[in-house]
Symmetry: C2
Subunit: 329 residues, 2 copies
């Protein structure tokens, strides 16, 4: 059977995660990487495939089946997705929750025009956490759903700290509060404020002579990002930062609780959790699985935009439905 031929657009942490993931799947093949930067300056140290400028992407429509869009939601995808969706089947990890409906509509229109298919917002949240929330709604319709994040690095919150004057490096860990997790796990359906669910812990390397009090106060009172949480700020050396805080772990829990039966007397609990030593590599792995599904759905004649909710789970793997029924069901 011929391999599914993939391209990567955007070569940062997630792009490299996708590249590693492709190498773990024998039915998939990486054809080329596309970058906004000068391709001469970029080399793939993983697969060694050629690196091209994004403008060259239009020359690969005969040799790439699915393009994995690995840019950031805010700056890259909003601009790049219309271009790629007009040429390719695509998969992305668009994660600006509030903008998903308009983004979906834009991608749907573009993909229908080009007779291609794009699966948006794959990854783990949005993505397989979303899938699990729907599974919970389906199985326990009279129930509650809780999502906790961490312990892990939040890129958005780390970026927000880096914008503060006097900050050289910063990382922010989101930490779920054990007592809250345990209340949910016991089926007590607690009402939880943001402060009761997560702690935010930051490690900051300040510029020489920076105003540490100003930095700490600015972090702790920052609207949307920190003011609704108990936030811990540590100032550390650049050396400590570079040895202890360069990995990108993450994870979290989705709990779906509900009751069934006579007088709702039986408590039922569904729990899904991820413990990831590398968030971008797992995100890349999920995107690659959805790229396979995008190719299969396109082969069946589907076009337009899709999300994880539209994809039969059996399409995510190389095995046929027959093999899955025999071995896994």
């Amino acid at each position: 059977m011929s391999k599914i031929r993939l391209g990567i657009a955007g070569y940062g942490n997630v792009g490299r995660g996708v590249e590693y993931a492709i190498s773990q799947n024998e039915d998939l093949e990486l054809v080329a990487i596309f970058t906004r930067r000068n391709p001469i300056e970029i080399q793939s140290k993983i697969s060694g495939v050629k690196v091209c400028s994004i403008e060259q992407a239009e020359n690969y429509t005969d040799t790439i089946d699915v393009m994995l869009l690995c840019g950031g939601s805010a700056c890259d995808l909003i601009q790049q997705t219309p271009y790629f969706a007009s040429l390719y089947n695509c998969v992305d990890s668009f994660d600006t929750h509030a903008k998903i409906p308009e983004y979906f509509a834009m991608v749907d229109e573009t993909s229908k025009k080009s007779n291609k298919l794009t699966i948006i917002s794959t990854g783990w949240d949005p993505g397989i956490f979303s899938l699990f929330r729907v599974l919970g709604m389906a199985c326990l319709p009279k129930g509650c759903e809780y999502t906790f994040y961490g312990k892990g690095v939040s890129q958005g919150h780390s970026d927000a700290i880096r914008q503060i004057k006097g900050v050289k490096f910063a990382v922010q860990y989101t930490i779920p509060i054990d007592s809250a997790v345990n209340e949910v796990r016991k089926g007590n359906n607690p009402v939880l404020t943001p402060r009761q669910k997560h702690i935010r812990e930051s490690f900051v390397v300040a510029e020489p002579n920076a105003d540490l009090v100003f930095i700490e106060q600015t972090i702790k009172t920052m609207p949307n990002y920190f003011c609704d949480f108990d936030t811990i700020v540590h100032f550390i050396s650049e050396e400590e930062f570079k040895t202890k805080h360069v990995e990108m772990p993450h994870g979290g829990f989705v709990f779906c609780t509900g009751t069934t039966g006579n007088e709702n007397k039986h408590q039922q609990l569904m729990e899904f959790s991820l413990q990831l030593e590398s968030n971008p590599e797992f995100t890349g792995s999920v995107m690659v699985a959805y790229a396979r599904a995008a190719h299969k759905m396109y082969q069946k004649g589907e076009t337009g935009a899709r999300t994880v909710f539209d994809v039969p789970v059996g399409m995510l793997v190389a095995e046929s439905m027959e093999e899955l029924r025999k071995r896994i069901l």
Copy 2:
């Protein structure tokens, strides 16, 4: 919007679980219950709908959209499914893993002939545990998968004990061994024998003057069921049995572990668990969600047999894909 009209075939624990589940979903309506027993002697104490004999099922093809087959796999479904699949869209919880391929083929042929659709082997295992195993294979293709069961009542093992001479009542609890679960959760990928994964604990009410030593030895040495496990046997009074061992809790864990990245250095863990106070009620709830999906897929023109692997997860709930993208993704 008109409701999806459902029927229940087989009115035991799972059938009642389905009936409770339907009452939790406003887009669903129960039309009738079908039984092999004398319908005069059976009453629904839950919804109060009419109870009919199975032979009358052919009179309801205009008023029932999906039939939920709630009989046991070994005796009921093998016989009844061809009949119902020739008349209705159906959902079942067929759980004889080894016979799934031939059962699927039979149902597929029957359903295609009748231009109907049947989703087989829903419930939680086979069912949503299977779904999760495939999700794990998809996201972590170079990984290991572990399924643990319990703590909970195994009907099959309880039945096996009840066949022993001198046993009046019996219940068997399957208990996962914490140390094994923790090894898996730490990502150590242990090789585990059945004995290292689960303990089997039985509570037996013996007939007067029964040979307790014989009963205990027969249980502990029973091939397939008990001989490969550490098995604990307690003899208790009928009174204790009827107060402490009438509920049907169950649950379990599916772990999918794997590594990603450069030299596979990053450990990734996916964990899915269920803690169910009522196994048959949760099974019923899952079946009802798949009944909704069966109706939607049939409305789109699909016929034949399907499994959980073929069903887009968004079809399991009443909400539209648009609502799901907006609220849940």
